[in-house]
């Protein structure tokens, strides 16, 4: 392969946004409430406070205040063994409370989709004045607020979706068209949440990288929403909508989608565009998946736990031309799942793990860390959805054993040393391998590990167009210096 420049990952950013009063609108909770199988009042008793959300260990790992290695010292269940005294801000980003999130929805909306009451607006103006990434100009866009009576009329007569904070009506989301099913208030909420979490995390990334935003050439969004009107459902380009509010004035962009595999695909595409010399600085960004909020709430309620799927995620990654020091995306060591590859675990892991490593003459045991689907098991297990990362690690270990690289007795040791417990919110493209990128960059830069393999899978069959799955992987490795 002819590569003109190595592509490096310079910096990452991760954010979470706490949305307890939006859990009721998540796809699953909304259906259960509408069918009368769940009472809203009961659901509300299982919602967490913002302080508990900040103190939740997996969330602290996500924003980088602690590392996945610290799990060894953290007693389970994590939701009962909270880390008090930790900040909502971390080296990778932040955990934003719901009121501030409503504020950025208002500020970064261009179509009067959001109305907030005057008293709530005044409160937000004060709260957001201390936020490091919100400017005075941003806050001016909050306006004076919409009279409460007008919000009530919109909710009652104009199909607007009420926005609650601590149970109080503080605003509404409006539909963008009276008949278009792709522009209803609910769809607008979903898309706007993806957009604003994407903007917030991109602003964090730019700050973390100390790069001038006008130096960014291109943005690739890998978010899981479908932006468009009835003639263009899923038409897309969330990337430019995000870049516009993140001062990336010299950037263009587009979206890359493949269910949960989208993020890793976007990283490989970006690295290739940089290596080919087309662009110098590319941001991969993923905003939150609102529809997955509360997806497994019944399992949490059944086990008398707080509803843990109460946060939206956001990720952003800056890829650049070689700087001689930052970890490299090794484009000679990538895996892809071909249409003829088959859907068996063997087939998928062969293309994701073995194929790329064999191209480099490497063994499975030559990789220091594997990043797989990093879903937090405390979210999935109560609903019987299994411990996703552990299953993935067991499968990789089994493959190493089948190939004679390790003994069967060494499986637990392999999983322990090359894997880690999940710590990501169950947000599809967000959870898919990339939450570990920030920690891996740090470990490689500190000389603690040499490489990490990132493998993502996409459930294409959910869209009922094919029985195929998707999968993609790449090796991140220590920079050997400028060529």
């Amino acid at each position: 392969m002819l590569i003109s420049s190595k592509a490096i990952i310079k910096q990452v950013a991760y954010i979470l946004a706490h949305v307890p009063d939006l859990v009721r609108y998540g796809s699953k909770p909304a259906r259960e409430i509408a069918a009368g199988r769940t009472k809203l009042a009961e659901l509300e008793q299982h919602l967490r406070s913002f302080d508990d959300t900040v103190a939740y260990p997996p969330n602290q790992i996500f924003i980088g205040n602690i590392s996945p290695d610290d799990y060894a010292d953290l007693p389970e269940p994590w939701y009962e063994n909270l880390l008090r005294g930790k900040s909502r801000y971390g080296p990778f980003g932040e955990i934003m409370p719901q009121d501030e999130l409503y504020g950025i929805m208002k500020m970064w909306d261009k179509f009067n989709l959001i109305d907030l009451s005057p008293s709530f607006t005044a409160l937000l103006n004060g709260r957001l004045a201390t936020h490091p990434l919100i400017t005075t100009e941003d806050r001016e866009r909050l306006g004076e607020g919409t009279p409460q009576e007008k919000i009530e009329v919109k909710v009652e007569k104009e199909a607007s979706l009420p926005l609650y904070h601590n149970g109080q009506l503080v605003g509404c989301v409006n539909r963008a068209h009276e008949q278009d099913e792709t522009l209803t208030a609910h769809v607008m909420l979903e898309n706007l949440l993806t957009k604003v979490t994407g903007i917030l995390v991109t602003r964090h990334l730019i700050r973390n990288s100390s790069i001038e935003p006008d130096k960014i050439d291109y943005l690739l969004s890998c978010s899981e929403e479908a932006v468009g009107d009835r003639y263009n459902r899923g038409g897309g380009n969330m990337a430019k909508a995000i870049g516009e509010e993140a001062y990336c004035v010299n950037a263009s962009g587009c979206d890359i989608k493949s269910f949960c595999a989208g993020t890793v695909l976007a990283i490989i595409h970006s690295a290739a565009l940089i290596s080919a010399g087309l662009f110098n600085e590319i941001i991969v960004v993923g905003g939150g998946s609102f529809s997955k909020i509360g997806m497994k709430f019944q399992g949490h309620m059944k086990h008398n736990m707080p509803i843990l799927e109460d946060v939206l995620g956001g990720i952003a990654i800056l890829l650049s031309r070689d700087d001689g020091t930052s970890p490299v995306v090794n484009l000679a060591c990538t895996g892809k799942h071909d249409i003829s590859a088959g859907a068996t675990a063997q087939a998928i892991y062969e293309v994701l793990i073995l194929d790329p490593l064999q191209k480099m003459g490497m063994k499975i045991t030559d990789v220091d860390k594997y990043a797989v689907e990093m879903h937090n098991p405390e979210v999935t297990l109560p609903m019987g959805s299994g411990n996703v990362p552990l299953t993935n690690y067991k499968t990789i270990a089994a493959m190493a054993a089948m190939r004679g690289e390790i003994d069967r007795e060494e499986l637990p040791e392999f999983i322990q040393s090359r894997g880690m417990p999940g710590f990501s919110p169950t947000q599809g493209h967000i959870a898919s391998a990339v939450p570990y990128l920030g920690h891996a960059l740090k470990l490689i830069n500190d000389g603690k590990i040499n490489n990490a393999l990132f493998a993502a899978k996409g459930s294409l069959f959910l869209g009922r167009m094919t029985n195929l799955a998707d999968g993609v992987s790449f090796l991140l490795e220590k920079n050997s210096g400028r060529d």
């Binding site: 949960c260 497994k296 088959g342 859907a343 068996t344 675990a345 689907e373 879903h375 999935t380 609903m383 019987g384 959805s385 299994g386 996703v388 299953t391 993935n392 499968t395 169950t426 599809g428 959870a431 899978k457 459930s459 069959f461 959910l462 029985n467 799955a469």
Partner: protein, 41 residues
């Protein structure tokens, strides 16, 4: 046990997917009337 039996094949993304179950049980003489693969995350 499988020969001539009508089967609903219900696979999972991280385990054995629908098409794999179909290939295996059809070879054992079963008749698959429906197959799907679930993803719980």
């Amino acid at each position: 046990m499988l020969n001539g039996v009508k089967i609903i094949a219900y696979g999972e993304r991280d385990g054995i997917q629908g098409p794999s179950i179909v290939a295996c049980v059809e070879a054992a003489g079963a008749d698959v009337i429906y197959q799907a693969t679930e993803c719980f995350v």
